[in-house]
Protein backbone atom coordinates (compact mmCIF):
# COMPACT_ATOMS: atom_id res chain seq x y z
CA UNK A 1 0.00 0.00 0.00
CA UNK A 2 1.48 3.34 -1.03
CA UNK A 3 0.71 6.82 0.18
CA UNK A 4 0.37 9.75 -2.21
CA UNK A 5 4.09 10.34 -2.12
CA UNK A 6 4.82 6.78 -3.16
CA UNK A 7 5.98 5.65 0.25
CA UNK A 8 4.72 2.59 2.02
CA UNK A 9 1.99 3.21 4.53
CA UNK A 10 1.05 0.51 7.00
CA UNK A 11 -2.47 -0.73 7.53
CA UNK A 12 -2.53 0.55 11.09
CA UNK A 13 -1.55 4.02 9.92
CA UNK A 14 -4.23 3.88 7.26
CA UNK A 15 -6.90 2.87 9.76
CA UNK A 16 -5.80 5.58 12.18
CA UNK A 17 -5.83 8.16 9.40
CA UNK A 18 -9.32 7.22 8.20
CA UNK A 19 -10.76 7.22 11.71
CA UNK A 20 -8.97 10.44 12.57
CA UNK A 21 -10.37 12.12 9.48
CA UNK A 22 -13.83 11.19 10.75
CA UNK A 23 -13.07 12.78 14.11
CA UNK A 24 -12.91 9.49 15.99
CA UNK A 25 -10.55 8.82 18.87
CA UNK A 26 -10.49 5.03 19.11
CA UNK A 27 -8.64 3.08 21.83
CA UNK A 28 -5.53 1.16 20.77
CA UNK A 29 -6.99 -2.30 21.30
CA UNK A 30 -9.87 -1.47 18.97
CA UNK A 31 -7.48 0.07 16.43
CA UNK A 32 -5.70 -3.30 16.51
CA UNK A 33 -8.98 -5.10 15.87
CA UNK A 34 -9.89 -2.81 12.97
CA UNK A 35 -6.39 -3.09 11.54
CA UNK A 36 -6.78 -6.87 11.44
CA UNK A 37 -10.16 -6.47 9.72
CA UNK A 38 -9.00 -3.87 7.23
CA UNK A 39 -7.48 -6.20 4.60
CA UNK A 40 -10.69 -8.24 4.41
CA UNK A 41 -12.76 -5.05 4.10
CA UNK A 42 -10.52 -3.97 1.22
CA UNK A 43 -10.79 -7.37 -0.46
CA UNK A 44 -14.58 -7.24 -0.15
CA UNK A 45 -14.70 -3.78 -1.69
CA UNK A 46 -12.14 -4.39 -4.43
CA UNK A 47 -14.21 -7.19 -5.97
CA UNK A 48 -16.77 -4.56 -7.07
CA UNK A 49 -14.22 -2.95 -9.37
CA UNK A 50 -13.90 -6.25 -11.26
CA UNK A 51 -17.59 -6.48 -12.19
CA UNK A 52 -18.30 -5.22 -15.72
CA UNK A 53 -20.53 -2.18 -15.37
CA UNK A 54 -21.67 -0.01 -18.27
CA UNK A 55 -20.12 3.46 -18.37
CA UNK A 56 -23.59 5.02 -18.25
CA UNK A 57 -24.49 3.37 -14.92
CA UNK A 58 -24.63 5.85 -12.07
CA UNK A 59 -24.62 5.19 -8.36
CA UNK A 60 -28.02 6.78 -7.92
CA UNK A 61 -30.76 7.66 -10.36
CA UNK A 62 -31.75 11.30 -10.45
CA UNK A 63 -34.62 12.78 -12.38
CA UNK A 64 -35.07 16.44 -13.06
CA UNK A 65 -38.73 16.25 -12.10
CA UNK A 66 -39.67 14.59 -8.86
CA UNK A 67 -43.27 13.46 -9.22
CA UNK A 68 -44.63 10.62 -7.12
CA UNK A 69 -42.90 9.20 -4.06
CA UNK A 70 -40.56 6.42 -5.07
CA UNK A 71 -39.64 7.80 -8.47
CA UNK A 72 -36.10 8.23 -7.33
CA UNK A 73 -35.61 4.46 -7.05
Amino acid sequence: MDDVNGGAIGEEKMVRALLGAAGLDVPDDEIDRLTKLYPSVRRSVDRYYRVPVGDEVTAAVYRAVDSTPGDER
Partner: protein, 471 residues
Protein backbone atom coordinates in the same frame (compact mmCIF):
# COMPACT_ATOMS: atom_id res chain seq x y z
CA UNK B 1 -52.21 -17.77 26.04
CA UNK B 2 -52.46 -21.53 26.59
CA UNK B 3 -54.39 -23.79 24.21
CA UNK B 4 -53.76 -27.11 22.59
CA UNK B 5 -52.55 -25.28 19.51
CA UNK B 6 -50.96 -21.86 19.92
CA UNK B 7 -53.09 -18.89 19.01
CA UNK B 8 -52.50 -17.33 15.67
CA UNK B 9 -53.89 -13.96 14.64
CA UNK B 10 -56.26 -15.84 12.38
CA UNK B 11 -57.63 -18.15 15.10
CA UNK B 12 -57.75 -15.38 17.69
CA UNK B 13 -59.64 -13.10 15.30
CA UNK B 14 -62.20 -15.84 14.73
CA UNK B 15 -62.45 -16.52 18.48
CA UNK B 16 -63.02 -12.82 19.17
CA UNK B 17 -65.96 -12.85 16.81
CA UNK B 18 -67.45 -16.15 17.98
CA UNK B 19 -67.34 -15.10 21.62
CA UNK B 20 -64.78 -17.76 22.54
CA UNK B 21 -62.49 -15.05 23.91
CA UNK B 22 -62.20 -11.30 24.31
CA UNK B 23 -59.42 -8.88 23.59
CA UNK B 24 -59.10 -8.17 27.31
CA UNK B 25 -58.64 -11.89 27.95
CA UNK B 26 -56.00 -12.14 25.21
CA UNK B 27 -54.12 -9.11 26.49
CA UNK B 28 -54.30 -10.18 30.15
CA UNK B 29 -53.07 -13.60 29.15
CA UNK B 30 -50.27 -12.02 27.12
CA UNK B 31 -49.14 -9.94 30.09
CA UNK B 32 -49.32 -12.99 32.38
CA UNK B 33 -47.17 -14.89 29.90
CA UNK B 34 -44.71 -12.01 29.80
CA UNK B 35 -44.59 -11.85 33.61
CA UNK B 36 -43.67 -15.52 33.62
CA UNK B 37 -41.34 -15.75 30.66
CA UNK B 38 -39.73 -12.36 30.16
CA UNK B 39 -37.18 -12.62 33.00
CA UNK B 40 -35.64 -15.60 31.19
CA UNK B 41 -36.44 -14.68 27.62
CA UNK B 42 -35.53 -11.00 27.47
CA UNK B 43 -38.43 -10.12 25.20
CA UNK B 44 -39.41 -6.68 26.46
CA UNK B 45 -37.76 -3.32 26.92
CA UNK B 46 -41.02 -1.74 28.04
CA UNK B 47 -44.59 -2.94 28.45
CA UNK B 48 -47.61 -0.65 28.28
CA UNK B 49 -49.86 -2.57 30.64
CA UNK B 50 -52.52 0.03 31.38
CA UNK B 51 -52.66 1.43 27.87
CA UNK B 52 -52.91 -2.02 26.29
CA UNK B 53 -55.71 -3.10 28.60
CA UNK B 54 -57.54 0.11 27.87
CA UNK B 55 -57.14 -0.49 24.11
CA UNK B 56 -58.37 -4.05 24.57
CA UNK B 57 -61.48 -2.85 26.43
CA UNK B 58 -62.14 -0.43 23.60
CA UNK B 59 -61.72 -3.19 21.02
CA UNK B 60 -64.15 -5.44 22.85
CA UNK B 61 -66.71 -2.63 23.06
CA UNK B 62 -66.32 -1.83 19.36
CA UNK B 63 -66.68 -5.46 18.32
CA UNK B 64 -69.73 -5.81 20.56
CA UNK B 65 -71.27 -2.82 18.79
CA UNK B 66 -70.60 -4.43 15.42
CA UNK B 67 -67.83 -1.99 14.53
CA UNK B 68 -65.34 -4.50 13.11
CA UNK B 69 -61.99 -3.05 12.01
CA UNK B 70 -60.66 -6.31 10.57
CA UNK B 71 -58.51 -9.23 11.67
CA UNK B 72 -56.10 -7.17 13.79
CA UNK B 73 -58.89 -5.69 15.92
CA UNK B 74 -58.15 -6.56 19.54
CA UNK B 75 -54.96 -8.50 18.74
CA UNK B 76 -51.92 -7.98 21.04
CA UNK B 77 -48.75 -7.01 19.16
CA UNK B 78 -45.18 -6.12 20.06
CA UNK B 79 -43.19 -3.30 18.46
CA UNK B 80 -39.41 -3.49 18.04
CA UNK B 81 -37.86 -0.70 20.02
CA UNK B 82 -36.38 1.16 17.10
CA UNK B 83 -39.90 2.20 16.05
CA UNK B 84 -41.51 5.18 17.69
CA UNK B 85 -44.86 4.92 19.44
CA UNK B 86 -47.11 7.30 21.32
CA UNK B 87 -46.65 5.59 24.67
CA UNK B 88 -42.99 6.12 25.39
CA UNK B 89 -39.48 6.85 24.19
CA UNK B 90 -37.53 4.73 21.74
CA UNK B 91 -34.21 3.43 23.08
CA UNK B 92 -32.87 1.45 20.12
CA UNK B 93 -31.45 -0.58 23.03
CA UNK B 94 -28.60 1.91 23.32
CA UNK B 95 -27.30 4.23 26.00
CA UNK B 96 -26.54 6.75 23.28
CA UNK B 97 -30.02 7.18 21.79
CA UNK B 98 -31.40 10.68 22.12
CA UNK B 99 -34.35 10.29 24.54
CA UNK B 100 -36.28 13.03 22.76
CA UNK B 101 -36.18 11.20 19.41
CA UNK B 102 -39.42 9.32 20.13
CA UNK B 103 -41.32 12.53 20.81
CA UNK B 104 -42.72 12.31 17.30
CA UNK B 105 -45.10 9.55 18.54
CA UNK B 106 -46.46 6.81 16.31
CA UNK B 107 -44.76 6.39 12.98
CA UNK B 108 -47.07 5.69 10.03
CA UNK B 109 -46.93 1.91 10.34
CA UNK B 110 -47.68 1.86 14.08
CA UNK B 111 -50.44 4.41 13.53
CA UNK B 112 -51.96 2.20 10.84
CA UNK B 113 -51.90 -0.86 13.10
CA UNK B 114 -53.49 1.11 15.90
CA UNK B 115 -56.18 2.45 13.56
CA UNK B 116 -56.91 -1.15 12.58
CA UNK B 117 -57.65 -1.89 16.23
CA UNK B 118 -54.42 -3.67 17.13
CA UNK B 119 -53.37 -3.52 20.77
CA UNK B 120 -49.80 -2.32 21.30
CA UNK B 121 -48.40 -4.38 24.19
CA UNK B 122 -45.05 -2.64 24.40
CA UNK B 123 -41.56 -2.39 22.96
CA UNK B 124 -39.57 -5.51 22.21
CA UNK B 125 -35.83 -6.05 22.47
CA UNK B 126 -33.41 -5.63 19.60
CA UNK B 127 -29.68 -5.62 19.14
CA UNK B 128 -28.23 -2.16 19.78
CA UNK B 129 -29.30 0.04 16.85
CA UNK B 130 -30.41 -3.17 15.12
CA UNK B 131 -26.81 -4.14 14.38
CA UNK B 132 -25.05 -5.07 17.60
CA UNK B 133 -24.68 -8.51 19.08
CA UNK B 134 -26.00 -9.90 22.38
CA UNK B 135 -24.13 -7.71 24.85
CA UNK B 136 -23.98 -8.70 28.50
CA UNK B 137 -22.03 -5.55 29.38
CA UNK B 138 -24.94 -3.13 28.88
CA UNK B 139 -28.03 -2.61 31.07
CA UNK B 140 -30.47 -4.17 28.64
CA UNK B 141 -32.05 -7.63 28.48
CA UNK B 142 -30.28 -10.25 26.37
CA UNK B 143 -32.96 -12.03 24.34
CA UNK B 144 -32.88 -15.83 24.44
CA UNK B 145 -34.31 -18.55 22.27
CA UNK B 146 -37.45 -20.32 23.56
CA UNK B 147 -36.30 -23.57 21.95
CA UNK B 148 -33.09 -23.52 23.98
CA UNK B 149 -32.22 -20.70 26.38
CA UNK B 150 -28.52 -21.19 25.69
CA UNK B 151 -29.09 -20.17 22.09
CA UNK B 152 -29.52 -16.77 20.52
CA UNK B 153 -32.85 -15.59 19.08
CA UNK B 154 -31.22 -14.16 16.03
CA UNK B 155 -31.48 -10.48 15.47
CA UNK B 156 -32.10 -7.85 15.35
CA UNK B 157 -35.88 -8.19 15.74
CA UNK B 158 -35.17 -10.52 18.63
CA UNK B 159 -37.94 -9.74 21.11
CA UNK B 160 -40.68 -9.77 18.51
CA UNK B 161 -39.36 -13.13 17.29
CA UNK B 162 -39.10 -14.84 20.65
CA UNK B 163 -42.28 -13.12 21.88
CA UNK B 164 -44.33 -14.65 19.07
CA UNK B 165 -42.65 -18.05 19.40
CA UNK B 166 -43.21 -18.21 23.17
CA UNK B 167 -46.86 -17.09 22.98
CA UNK B 168 -46.39 -13.68 24.61
CA UNK B 169 -47.75 -11.85 21.56
CA UNK B 170 -49.57 -12.94 18.42
CA UNK B 171 -47.47 -10.83 16.10
CA UNK B 172 -45.50 -7.66 15.82
CA UNK B 173 -43.10 -5.48 13.96
CA UNK B 174 -39.47 -6.02 13.17
CA UNK B 175 -37.06 -4.34 10.80
CA UNK B 176 -34.80 -5.99 8.26
CA UNK B 177 -31.61 -4.43 6.86
CA UNK B 178 -29.66 -7.64 6.19
CA UNK B 179 -32.09 -10.25 7.48
CA UNK B 180 -33.26 -8.93 10.85
CA UNK B 181 -36.88 -10.03 10.37
CA UNK B 182 -36.12 -13.31 8.62
CA UNK B 183 -33.23 -14.43 10.85
CA UNK B 184 -35.21 -14.30 14.14
CA UNK B 185 -38.19 -15.82 12.30
CA UNK B 186 -36.03 -18.77 11.29
CA UNK B 187 -34.22 -19.18 14.63
CA UNK B 188 -37.44 -18.94 16.67
CA UNK B 189 -39.62 -21.07 14.40
CA UNK B 190 -42.09 -18.37 13.33
CA UNK B 191 -42.92 -16.56 10.08
CA UNK B 192 -41.42 -13.21 9.12
CA UNK B 193 -41.79 -11.12 5.99
CA UNK B 194 -39.47 -8.50 4.54
CA UNK B 195 -41.72 -6.53 2.18
CA UNK B 196 -40.64 -5.03 -1.11
CA UNK B 197 -38.60 -1.86 -0.55
CA UNK B 198 -40.95 1.08 -0.94
CA UNK B 199 -44.12 -0.82 -0.01
CA UNK B 200 -44.05 0.08 3.69
CA UNK B 201 -43.02 3.54 4.95
CA UNK B 202 -39.99 3.60 7.22
CA UNK B 203 -40.57 6.94 8.90
CA UNK B 204 -40.59 6.68 12.67
CA UNK B 205 -37.87 4.03 12.52
CA UNK B 206 -34.32 4.67 13.73
CA UNK B 207 -32.40 4.13 10.49
CA UNK B 208 -29.57 1.67 10.05
CA UNK B 209 -28.91 1.45 6.32
CA UNK B 210 -31.43 3.77 4.76
CA UNK B 211 -31.49 2.09 1.34
CA UNK B 212 -31.55 -1.43 2.84
CA UNK B 213 -33.99 -0.94 5.76
CA UNK B 214 -37.45 -2.50 5.65
CA UNK B 215 -40.15 -2.66 8.33
CA UNK B 216 -41.79 -6.09 8.30
CA UNK B 217 -44.21 -8.27 10.24
CA UNK B 218 -43.45 -11.36 12.33
CA UNK B 219 -46.18 -13.77 13.38
CA UNK B 220 -46.83 -17.49 13.50
CA UNK B 221 -48.12 -17.91 9.96
CA UNK B 222 -47.96 -16.45 6.49
CA UNK B 223 -51.69 -15.70 6.81
CA UNK B 224 -50.98 -13.63 9.91
CA UNK B 225 -48.16 -11.78 8.15
CA UNK B 226 -50.55 -11.07 5.27
CA UNK B 227 -53.09 -9.60 7.69
CA UNK B 228 -50.41 -7.33 9.16
CA UNK B 229 -48.98 -6.32 5.78
CA UNK B 230 -52.44 -5.41 4.47
CA UNK B 231 -52.55 -2.69 7.11
CA UNK B 232 -48.88 -1.69 7.00
CA UNK B 233 -48.51 -1.25 3.23
CA UNK B 234 -49.05 1.96 1.33
CA UNK B 235 -47.16 5.10 0.42
CA UNK B 236 -46.76 7.90 2.93
CA UNK B 237 -45.51 11.40 2.17
CA UNK B 238 -43.14 11.21 5.15
CA UNK B 239 -41.07 8.56 3.36
CA UNK B 240 -40.30 9.50 -0.22
CA UNK B 241 -38.94 6.04 -1.02
CA UNK B 242 -42.47 4.64 -0.76
CA UNK B 243 -44.30 3.91 -3.98
CA UNK B 244 -47.89 4.83 -4.79
CA UNK B 245 -49.71 1.58 -5.59
CA UNK B 246 -53.29 0.36 -5.29
CA UNK B 247 -54.05 -1.01 -1.82
CA UNK B 248 -54.02 -4.79 -1.62
CA UNK B 249 -55.88 -7.10 0.75
CA UNK B 250 -53.07 -9.64 1.10
CA UNK B 251 -55.29 -12.07 3.03
CA UNK B 252 -57.87 -12.12 0.25
CA UNK B 253 -55.11 -12.53 -2.35
CA UNK B 254 -53.55 -15.37 -0.40
CA UNK B 255 -56.86 -17.19 -0.04
CA UNK B 256 -57.69 -16.79 -3.73
CA UNK B 257 -54.25 -18.14 -4.64
CA UNK B 258 -54.76 -21.05 -2.28
CA UNK B 259 -57.95 -22.04 -4.06
CA UNK B 260 -56.07 -22.09 -7.36
CA UNK B 261 -53.38 -24.39 -5.89
CA UNK B 262 -49.72 -24.64 -6.84
CA UNK B 263 -50.22 -26.15 -10.31
CA UNK B 264 -48.48 -23.98 -12.86
CA UNK B 265 -46.22 -22.33 -10.28
CA UNK B 266 -42.51 -22.42 -11.08
CA UNK B 267 -39.98 -21.87 -8.32
CA UNK B 268 -36.24 -21.41 -8.68
CA UNK B 269 -34.16 -23.34 -6.17
CA UNK B 270 -31.01 -21.29 -5.59
CA UNK B 271 -27.89 -23.44 -5.89
CA UNK B 272 -25.16 -20.80 -5.71
CA UNK B 273 -22.11 -21.98 -3.75
CA UNK B 274 -22.90 -19.35 -1.12
CA UNK B 275 -26.07 -21.27 -0.29
CA UNK B 276 -24.89 -24.85 -0.65
CA UNK B 277 -21.51 -24.32 1.01
CA UNK B 278 -22.92 -21.90 3.55
CA UNK B 279 -25.44 -24.41 4.91
CA UNK B 280 -24.89 -27.52 7.00
CA UNK B 281 -26.05 -30.95 5.81
CA UNK B 282 -29.09 -31.02 8.09
CA UNK B 283 -30.32 -27.69 6.75
CA UNK B 284 -29.91 -28.79 3.14
CA UNK B 285 -31.79 -32.03 3.85
CA UNK B 286 -34.68 -30.19 5.51
CA UNK B 287 -34.71 -27.64 2.68
CA UNK B 288 -34.85 -30.42 0.08
CA UNK B 289 -37.87 -31.85 1.93
CA UNK B 290 -39.57 -28.45 1.83
CA UNK B 291 -39.00 -28.14 -1.92
CA UNK B 292 -40.28 -31.70 -2.37
CA UNK B 293 -43.46 -30.84 -0.46
CA UNK B 294 -44.13 -27.92 -2.79
CA UNK B 295 -43.42 -29.92 -5.95
CA UNK B 296 -45.60 -32.81 -4.71
CA UNK B 297 -48.40 -30.26 -4.40
CA UNK B 298 -48.02 -29.20 -8.03
CA UNK B 299 -45.19 -26.65 -8.22
CA UNK B 300 -42.33 -27.06 -10.68
CA UNK B 301 -38.83 -26.53 -9.32
CA UNK B 302 -35.81 -25.43 -11.35
CA UNK B 303 -32.26 -25.29 -10.03
CA UNK B 304 -30.89 -21.83 -10.75
CA UNK B 305 -27.85 -19.70 -10.03
CA UNK B 306 -28.55 -16.09 -9.10
CA UNK B 307 -26.21 -13.76 -11.02
CA UNK B 308 -23.89 -11.60 -8.92
CA UNK B 309 -25.34 -13.17 -5.79
CA UNK B 310 -22.13 -12.79 -3.77
CA UNK B 311 -21.86 -9.12 -4.72
CA UNK B 312 -25.48 -8.48 -3.74
CA UNK B 313 -25.00 -10.23 -0.40
CA UNK B 314 -21.68 -8.64 0.56
CA UNK B 315 -22.81 -5.28 -0.79
CA UNK B 316 -25.67 -5.17 1.70
CA UNK B 317 -23.20 -5.29 4.58
CA UNK B 318 -20.72 -2.86 3.07
CA UNK B 319 -23.49 -0.47 2.05
CA UNK B 320 -25.34 -0.59 5.35
CA UNK B 321 -22.10 -0.02 7.26
CA UNK B 322 -21.43 3.10 5.21
CA UNK B 323 -25.00 4.33 5.57
CA UNK B 324 -25.04 3.54 9.28
CA UNK B 325 -21.74 5.35 9.77
CA UNK B 326 -23.15 8.43 8.08
CA UNK B 327 -25.95 8.51 10.66
CA UNK B 328 -23.77 7.62 13.67
CA UNK B 329 -20.51 9.43 12.95
CA UNK B 330 -20.90 12.41 15.24
CA UNK B 331 -22.48 10.37 18.02
CA UNK B 332 -19.68 7.82 17.80
CA UNK B 333 -17.14 10.61 18.08
CA UNK B 334 -18.83 12.00 21.17
CA UNK B 335 -19.85 8.80 22.94
CA UNK B 336 -17.64 5.97 21.69
CA UNK B 337 -17.47 4.14 25.01
CA UNK B 338 -21.26 4.26 25.53
CA UNK B 339 -21.83 2.18 22.42
CA UNK B 340 -21.54 -1.56 22.84
CA UNK B 341 -18.19 -2.78 21.54
CA UNK B 342 -19.70 -5.06 18.84
CA UNK B 343 -21.94 -2.22 17.66
CA UNK B 344 -19.26 0.44 17.37
CA UNK B 345 -16.75 -1.93 15.75
CA UNK B 346 -19.32 -2.88 13.12
CA UNK B 347 -20.60 0.60 12.33
CA UNK B 348 -17.16 2.22 12.27
CA UNK B 349 -16.09 -0.05 9.43
CA UNK B 350 -18.13 2.33 7.32
CA UNK B 351 -15.30 4.83 7.85
CA UNK B 352 -12.86 2.44 6.16
CA UNK B 353 -14.78 2.54 2.87
CA UNK B 354 -14.18 5.41 0.46
CA UNK B 355 -16.72 7.45 -1.43
CA UNK B 356 -15.54 5.86 -4.69
CA UNK B 357 -16.04 2.42 -3.15
CA UNK B 358 -19.65 3.22 -2.32
CA UNK B 359 -20.24 4.56 -5.82
CA UNK B 360 -18.92 1.34 -7.31
CA UNK B 361 -20.91 -0.89 -4.92
CA UNK B 362 -24.07 1.02 -5.85
CA UNK B 363 -23.33 0.75 -9.57
CA UNK B 364 -22.86 -3.01 -9.26
CA UNK B 365 -26.03 -3.18 -7.17
CA UNK B 366 -28.02 -1.65 -10.01
CA UNK B 367 -26.51 -3.95 -12.61
CA UNK B 368 -27.06 -7.00 -10.40
CA UNK B 369 -30.67 -6.09 -9.77
CA UNK B 370 -31.32 -5.93 -13.49
CA UNK B 371 -29.49 -9.23 -14.14
CA UNK B 372 -31.49 -11.05 -11.46
CA UNK B 373 -34.74 -9.69 -12.86
CA UNK B 374 -33.72 -10.78 -16.37
CA UNK B 375 -32.83 -14.27 -15.13
CA UNK B 376 -36.17 -14.64 -13.34
CA UNK B 377 -37.98 -13.50 -16.49
CA UNK B 378 -36.00 -15.77 -18.80
CA UNK B 379 -36.53 -18.82 -16.59
CA UNK B 380 -40.22 -18.06 -16.11
CA UNK B 381 -39.91 -18.12 -12.32
CA UNK B 382 -42.70 -17.09 -9.97
CA UNK B 383 -40.47 -17.17 -6.90
CA UNK B 384 -37.04 -18.23 -5.63
CA UNK B 385 -36.32 -20.54 -2.70
CA UNK B 386 -33.39 -21.00 -0.32
CA UNK B 387 -32.84 -21.84 3.32
CA UNK B 388 -33.12 -18.65 5.36
CA UNK B 389 -29.94 -19.49 7.26
CA UNK B 390 -27.34 -22.19 6.92
CA UNK B 391 -27.90 -23.62 10.40
CA UNK B 392 -30.05 -23.37 13.50
CA UNK B 393 -29.71 -20.80 16.27
CA UNK B 394 -26.19 -19.88 17.36
CA UNK B 395 -25.04 -20.70 20.91
CA UNK B 396 -24.06 -18.09 23.47
CA UNK B 397 -20.40 -18.37 24.33
CA UNK B 398 -18.34 -16.08 26.50
CA UNK B 399 -19.59 -12.54 26.28
CA UNK B 400 -21.73 -12.87 23.20
CA UNK B 401 -22.61 -15.37 20.50
CA UNK B 402 -20.34 -17.76 18.78
CA UNK B 403 -19.01 -15.98 15.75
CA UNK B 404 -21.98 -15.60 13.45
CA UNK B 405 -20.79 -16.60 10.04
CA UNK B 406 -21.95 -14.03 7.53
CA UNK B 407 -21.79 -16.82 4.97
CA UNK B 408 -24.55 -18.67 6.82
CA UNK B 409 -26.99 -15.79 6.33
CA UNK B 410 -28.88 -16.26 3.08
CA UNK B 411 -30.90 -13.09 3.53
CA UNK B 412 -28.91 -9.91 2.71
CA UNK B 413 -28.86 -10.24 -1.09
CA UNK B 414 -32.59 -9.46 -1.04
CA UNK B 415 -32.01 -6.27 0.92
CA UNK B 416 -29.75 -5.17 -1.92
CA UNK B 417 -32.40 -5.92 -4.54
CA UNK B 418 -35.28 -4.73 -2.36
CA UNK B 419 -37.30 -7.79 -3.39
CA UNK B 420 -39.87 -9.32 -0.99
CA UNK B 421 -38.74 -12.32 1.06
CA UNK B 422 -40.64 -14.43 3.57
CA UNK B 423 -39.20 -16.92 6.05
CA UNK B 424 -41.45 -19.74 7.23
CA UNK B 425 -40.53 -22.66 9.51
CA UNK B 426 -39.51 -25.76 7.53
CA UNK B 427 -38.40 -28.24 10.20
CA UNK B 428 -35.70 -28.78 12.79
CA UNK B 429 -32.01 -29.53 12.95
CA UNK B 430 -30.67 -32.52 14.94
CA UNK B 431 -30.46 -30.32 18.06
CA UNK B 432 -34.18 -29.58 17.86
CA UNK B 433 -33.68 -26.03 16.65
CA UNK B 434 -36.03 -24.56 14.01
CA UNK B 435 -34.92 -23.88 10.46
CA UNK B 436 -36.44 -21.43 7.99
CA UNK B 437 -37.46 -21.67 4.33
CA UNK B 438 -36.96 -18.40 2.48
CA UNK B 439 -39.41 -17.57 -0.33
CA UNK B 440 -38.33 -14.64 -2.50
CA UNK B 441 -40.55 -12.88 -5.04
CA UNK B 442 -40.37 -10.29 -7.75
CA UNK B 443 -40.72 -6.64 -6.72
CA UNK B 444 -44.19 -6.00 -5.26
CA UNK B 445 -45.16 -9.66 -5.63
CA UNK B 446 -45.50 -9.82 -1.85
CA UNK B 447 -48.91 -11.41 -2.35
CA UNK B 448 -47.41 -14.31 -4.27
CA UNK B 449 -44.65 -14.86 -1.71
CA UNK B 450 -47.19 -14.93 1.10
CA UNK B 451 -49.48 -17.23 -0.90
CA UNK B 452 -46.69 -19.76 -1.39
CA UNK B 453 -45.91 -19.59 2.33
CA UNK B 454 -49.58 -20.09 3.13
CA UNK B 455 -49.81 -23.07 0.78
CA UNK B 456 -46.70 -24.59 2.39
CA UNK B 457 -48.23 -24.11 5.83
CA UNK B 458 -51.25 -26.11 4.70
CA UNK B 459 -48.90 -28.93 3.75
CA UNK B 460 -46.93 -28.82 7.02
CA UNK B 461 -47.48 -27.81 10.64
CA UNK B 462 -43.98 -26.59 11.54
CA UNK B 463 -45.34 -23.09 12.19
CA UNK B 464 -47.68 -24.41 14.90
CA UNK B 465 -44.99 -26.24 16.91
CA UNK B 466 -44.56 -24.94 20.46
CA UNK B 467 -41.11 -24.48 21.96
CA UNK B 468 -40.30 -25.78 25.46
CA UNK B 469 -40.52 -22.23 26.82
CA UNK B 470 -44.06 -21.24 25.90
CA UNK B 471 -46.97 -19.66 27.72
Amino acid sequence: MTRQEPWTIRTAAAALRSGETTSVALVRSAHAAADLLDPQMGTWLDRYTEQSLSSAEQADAELAEGRDLGPLHGIPLGIKDILSTDEGPTTAQSLTMDPTWGDQGDGPVVARLRAAGAVIMGKTTTMEYAIGRPDFSKPFPVPRNPWNLDRWTGGSSSGTGNGVASGQILGGLGTDTGGSVRLPAAYNGVSGHKPTFGLVPKSGCVPLGMSYDHIGPLARSAWDCAALLSVMAGADPSDRTTVERPGIDYVAQLEQSFERGLDGLTVGVIVNDAITEGSDEATIAVFDDAVAALTAAGATAKRIEVPLYDELAAGAFLGLQAEAFAWHRDRLAARWEDYGRPTRLTIVQGALISAADIVQIERVRQVARRQVAAMVEAEGLDALLSPTTGHGATPFTGGGTEALSIRSLHTPAWNSTGWPALSVPMGFDPDGLPLGLQIIGRPFADDQVLAIGHAYQHLTDWHLRRPPHHA
